[in-house]
């Protein structure tokens, strides 16, 4: 009896040792040498696995960042400059600070501004709805209101406002990962620079229809009048195809465009003081008057020379 126990223990011990040796040899033979910095970079990442950087997750980003010769094309929008500075320190690269961004909903077609023209009874998904038709209002460009963007946001920064029917961005929670931008079939949501102290100016409309058509569909639509374009002295407004767009890189936040917009399609947010339209308009008028006077003074000189 004792003999059997001893034999069993001995055989299993030897078997175990042999197999351990085999496993060790195999592990040595097929060892994958991995850059230890990948782990370090991954640890420095926020770990949201949101895909906002364009890679499948934080690990994939770390692998790509370690392989890449610099960090110019790899940026984690969720972690922002802090995380990127840490990643750069690990890898010994330099990184340029990027202005923090935030998702901006460029549609102000609330239930009040944009009356419904029909009832939608299908699947509650913007993607499905957009493939079927232009939407349940007269505007074929605006928000469809089914909340694909809110469902795509994994930071809880987007929610649907039931009263207006539009998504609302919680700036404190938004990480600018861009998931909502991809989810929106109408391309309404855009990542824009947060701006100094969160102050920014944007056109809250993407309607390319001609003025009367756009106006009929939505009271807050950009009607393509071009007044903002003519007013802006910083060249920040791009005016194309009946629609104005403010280039946030060039905008100086003077709010003149917002004051002159006849439909209120241009919005300024997070400004300390409410906009005094009359004062701004007076300022513009004053400037134009001076410019006209200057032009009048210059003209005779030109004619003399000619």
């Amino acid at each position: 009896m004792v003999n059997i126990i001893i034999w069993t223990v001995a055989v299993i011990t030897v078997l175990g040792l042999v197999l351990a040796l085999v496993l060790y040899l195999v592990a040595e033979k097929f060892k994958v040498v991995e850059d230890p910095r990948i782990d370090e970079v991954e640890k420095a990442m926020p770990g949201a696995n949101c895909g906002g950087c364009g890679f499948a997750g934080c690990r994939a980003f770390a692998e790509a960042a370690v392989k890449a010769p610099d960090l110019d094309n790899n940026y984690c929008p969720v972690g922002g400059n802090d995380v990127m500075a840490r990643v750069a320190a690990i890898l010994g690269y330099e990184v340029k600070a990027k202005a923090p961004q935030v998702a901006v909903v460029r549609c102000n077609g609330t239930c009040q501004n944009r009356p419904k023209t029909n009832d939608y009874d299908g699947v509650a998904s913007c993607k499905v709805k957009a493939a079927l038709y232009s939407g349940d209002t007269g505007c074929s460009y605006g928000c469809l209101g089914c909340g694909d963007c809110a469902a795509a946001c994994q930071f809880g920064a987007l929610s649907m406002d039931l009263e207006t029917g539009l998504p609302v961005v919680d700036e404190a929670k938004c990480t600018a990962c861009g998931a909502c931008v991809k989810a929106c079939p109408k391309h309404i949501i855009e990542l824009r620079n947060k701006g100094p102290r969160g102050m920014r100016e944007f056109v809250s409309c993407v309607n390319h229809d001609k003025g009367p058509v756009a106006k009929k569909a939505c009271a807050a639509a950009c009607i393509g009048c071009g007044i903002c374009f003519k007013t802006c002295i910083h060249g920040a407004i791009v005016f194309e195809n009946n629609l104005a767009y403010i280039d946030y890189a060039k905008c100086k936040l003077c709010r003149e465009c917002e004051a002159v917009c006849p439909t209120g399609a241009i919005h300024g947010v997070n400004f300390p003081k409410p906009l005094d339209k009359d004062a701004v308009k007076a300022r513009i008028a004053e400037r134009k008057k001076k410019a006209a006077e200057a032009a009048a003074e210059v003209k005779p000189v030109e004619t003399k020379e000619a």
């Binding site: 023209t117 299908g122 079927l132 229809d209």
Partner: protein
């Protein structure tokens, strides 16, 4: 002998052909028409008229924008008022040519008389050219340019022409009325198509719920001198009018995944297309009008109207007494495959077959519950797909598996949705998946083409 039908799936909705007794009447001319340049599958046509031009009925207003494209003709005589975007049925802007109607003057050379021309020109090329210049597209729903369909790729041989007179969609009666009232023209059109395809035998498939049409077409065939044209009564089953289903029903051959009907030796043309071919070849008359069924239980006046292409829907509806108070939804086409109209100011196109009014009770979707794995959708799918699986794959966004499970073969007939006891919006979701798969397939084809060209 038991009547034939297709072998997989299908459903049997009540046919509701309440407008079957209404003769096709011409609709009076509207004050203006809006002719879209994208009325067919393929590249949009390019406008060839300018604002202020005077046009006559049948004059070309837009020319082919590519190989798979079609000519578009003015459906009225008058002055071109504008060329620009106008909202279509779905509310999306499409380039339209607006023509203000002045009188009704037809282009010279178009035979507007009712005399039947039975002599078919001998030159097949000339016939094809006339079909192409006549802007003939498949009027069964897909609006695929007919001249392209009649030019089979080299190496493939057509063995049978099938004329599709199934009209399996409930409520629709325009093809049925066409068969009854213009049976002779349809048969001549079929004979022309048959000759172009190399004198193949021709079968006119008609569902058994149209016995008058079956009897009438049989009489017409006996009267006319063409050989090898027969009528085949088919058992009622939706979607029998689907191209691949009809081939299965008539020839007992199944078109493989991603294949074209010609791969099994069949060419299918709709009854209305056969009529359009007759008009284009024998009468020089391009597609300027088509018959539209206006129907619905809540609609007081059922009608089959001959409508000029580009007539605003609101004009048709006003002519028949306006939208009834209890109508909740207006559908362009039949209740199974038609699309709800978001914009009643939109104009008809060549492929518009019906306006259907449904009440709230008929159209409201029932609340969705959970899938109980009953498999009814898979039984009903005429393409042999598994809609429950595709639905889940769409939710998981798994395009690779969607393609492996042939989401691209979905014909969007709606049988799955119709049969689902849990009211799951299967088709709505699968349509999205199909779109994604088609995108991938097209991108792959484009990449392969680019590689092949680079090698040259």
């Amino acid at each position: 002998m038991a009547k034939r039908t297709f072998s997989i799936g299908g459903v049997h909705p009540h046919d509701n052909k309440i407008s079957r007794g209404c003769r096709i009447e011409p609709l009076p001319l509207p004050p203006a028409v809006y002719i879209s340049v994208a009325q067919h599958i393929g590249a949009p046509a390019k406008p060839v008229v300018a604002v202020g031009d005077k046009v006559k009925v049948g004059q070309v207003v837009a020319e082919q924008g590519g190989f798979v494209s079609a000519f578009i003709h003015s459906s009225v005589s008058g002055t071109v008022k504008s060329i620009g975007p106008r909202k279509d049925l779905a509310g999306n802007p499409q380039t339209c040519i607006e023509i203000a109607v002045e009188g009704d003057e037809w282009l010279e050379g178009i035979d507007t008389s009712d005399t039947l021309v039975t002599g078919i020109p001998e030159d097949n090329r000339a016939i094809l050219e006339k079909i192409r210049l006549g802007g003939v597209v498949g009027l069964g729903g897909a609006t695929f340019p007919t001249h392209v369909k009649l030019s089979p790729p080299p190496g493939s041989q057509c063995e049978r022409l099938i004329i599709n007179g199934c009209e399996c969609e409930p409520y629709l009666t325009s093809d049925f009325r066409t068969l009854l009232e213009k049976g002779e023209q349809v048969v001549v059109g079929a004979a022309i198509l048959k000759q172009v395809l190399g004198n193949v035998p021709c079968t006119i498939g008609i569902e058994e719920n149209k016995p008058e049409a079956i009897a009438h077409i049989r009489e017409v065939i006996a009267k006319l001198p063409y050989k090898d044209i027969e009528v085949m009564p088919l058992k009622m089953r939706y979607p029998q009018g689907g191209e691949k289903q009809l081939i299965d029903a008539v020839m007992h051959r199944q078109v493989g995944s991603g294949g074209l009907p010609i791969s099994v030796g069949a060419v299918v043309q709709n009854v209305a297309t056969a009529l359009a071919v007759y008009d284009a070849v024998q009468k020089n008359k391009p597609i300027v009008d088509n018959s539209v069924t206006v129907t619905g239980e809540c609609f007081p006046k059922q009608a089959n109207l001959l409508v000029r292409v580009g007539t605003p829907l609101s004009y048709i509806i006003d002519y028949l007494g306006g939208v009834p108070a209890d109508a909740a939804k207006v559908i362009s086409g039949g209740p199974m495959m038609g699309r709800a109209i978001a914009n009643l100011d939109a104009a008809t196109v060549k492929g518009t077959s019906a306006l259907l009014f449904l009440t709230e009770a008929q159209t409201r979707r029932k609340p969705q519950t959970r899938c109980i794995r009953c498999g009814k959708c898979a039984d009903a799918c005429p393409m042999g797909l598994e809609p429950f699986l595709l639905n889940r794959l769409v939710k998981a966004d798994d395009v690779e598996q969607l393609e492996a499970n042939a989401a691209q073969d979905c014909i969007e007939c709606g049988c799955c949705l119709y049969s689902c006891p849990a009211h799951i919006p299967l088709l709505d979701n699968i349509r999205m998946g199909k779109g994604a798969v088609m995108g991938v397939i097209r991108a792959r084809a484009a990449a392969a083409k680019a590689v092949a060209e680079a090698k040259k």
